[in-house]
Symmetry: C2
Amino acid sequence: MQLGIQNIGVYLPEGRASNLGKLAEFEIDETFVVEKIGVRSRSIMAPGESTTDLCVRAFADLQLRGGPVPEDVDCVVVVTQNPGANIPHLSARVHAALNLAERCACFDISLGCSGYVYGLSAIQAFMAANELSNGLLFTCDPYSPIIDLADKNTSMLFGDAASVTWIGKSPKLVGGRFTFGTLGSEHAELTSASSAGPLSMNGRAVFNFAARYVPADVKELLAINSISVDSVDRFIFHQGSKYIVDTLRKLLRLDPEKVPFDIIEYGNTVSSSIPIILAKDLGESAYRTFVLCGFGAGLSWASVVLTRPSDL
Amino acid sequence: MQLGIQNIGVYLPEGRASNLGKLAEFEIDETFVVEKIGVRSRSIMAPGESTTDLCVRAFADLQLRGGPVPEDVDCVVVVTQNPGANIPHLSARVHAALNLAERCACFDISLGCSGYVYGLSAIQAFMAANELSNGLLFTCDPYSPIIDLADKNTSMLFGDAASVTWIGKSPKLVGGRFTFGTLGSEHAELTSASSAGPLSMNGRAVFNFAARYVPADVKELLAINSISVDSVDRFIFHQGSKYIVDTLRKLLRLDPEKVPFDIIEYGNTVSSSIPIILAKDLGESAYRTFVLCGFGAGLSWASVVLTRPSDL
């Protein structure tokens, strides 16, 4: 049986910081905040809340949706570039917090906004090669600790969150072929020197990169999966900003109904942005075929087609 | 054709720091340094030398051994917990430095001394699932920037290095089944809070963990691969210290000739310790069957059997 997505748990901290208080400081108006950035308030992890806590709370949400019992979990992968500590890997700390089995394989993947799609391929391939049955793919990349609040380029965008995707043998969605790419020559456009930050982003360069590379990548993805644009029910793009999602939708001439934009009350949650939306869409049986596309730090991108196994 | 190890490039910085100058400070003698720790001098990266530089120099060594031309590389994975910067991933910076293709998939894996074995499985599985042909698995985890030189537990052990393993379709060695494990409950025994360190290690606890878990793991590995201890030519253990390698050899009753200890002039190079030895052994045609076993931060461990494809 092919491995795929059985369910998804999500955790958004309750804390919010409003962007509307920044209008005067950055000489912008509310229309810009709502229509261009698309983020009115940003989710902020609580003081003392750790990256391990974020993952544990996402797992608790997965449990409410019928997730696996901890003793059955045999693989944990956490996608993060802000793990909270460099050594050991966050997946080992999550392993401890969830009291997982000794024979559970754990590692972290360092990727940013392309990380969920890369991670889906990496964990499924690793599990299949090693005959594992119940994997947890976490995304947990809180940016609030590395943001300079005086930086107009980054301080109104990002929200803290975590997600966990249960990979198993009774999937609701299975992956087709993936595409991956890297434009390392532009890696300096989005950086954080240390685990203390600060994040530095050339927003214009990252936008131009996405607008140039993502539409061509999606077309190639559809071609290698032998499906048409019309047969896709949902295009879930990384939620970088409203402006980039709108731009990608227009460049690809997609039906607006098919292209969710969800982040106005919590912000760009990096590698969690796609699974937060997919968690909602997973239960909608009318949605049969999905395209996921992540893009960001690296600069890098990754895309995949997901379908209902009963449609194969 | 099964993917496997085509060749390995290695980079050890020329700089060395001697442990013999620390005898008085730590109230130890030379016998302890040579026979217990097994590290007389530690390799140290040069001031201004970056993690990207270490990887590029390992790749240059691979090129001398007939490595792939950069335009053919379609996958790069870097194993590190000291990437030099948190964002972006080190593999993207290496992608830029080597001028790799846009369709090259790149990500980092965060693991310590078990990372090479985990990484072998992860990159091979990822490449097979995505039909990739020429992968580079780097290890690059320089500890000198995070070591407190006054800490007796950590300051005499570690050396800086990098390696790159070319994964392709004309392998010299192919993997059998892997074993993986995690003891997250003891993760606090080996930590570094931030990218600036300092490394903190309970050496006794990590030693006890390895002496308890690794022999049982190796026995299980041999069983699931249906091979005997006698049929293995080389047991390459992570080179944590001379004392742990000697202890594992004795607990498993292995022929000393089969168990290399190599690090006296450069130190424990974390995830590079196994590939540095394997790079030498790869060309020895008398060595047909290898066991690799890594263990460390997490706490975690991973093992694999490698064989010559012509023997399958």
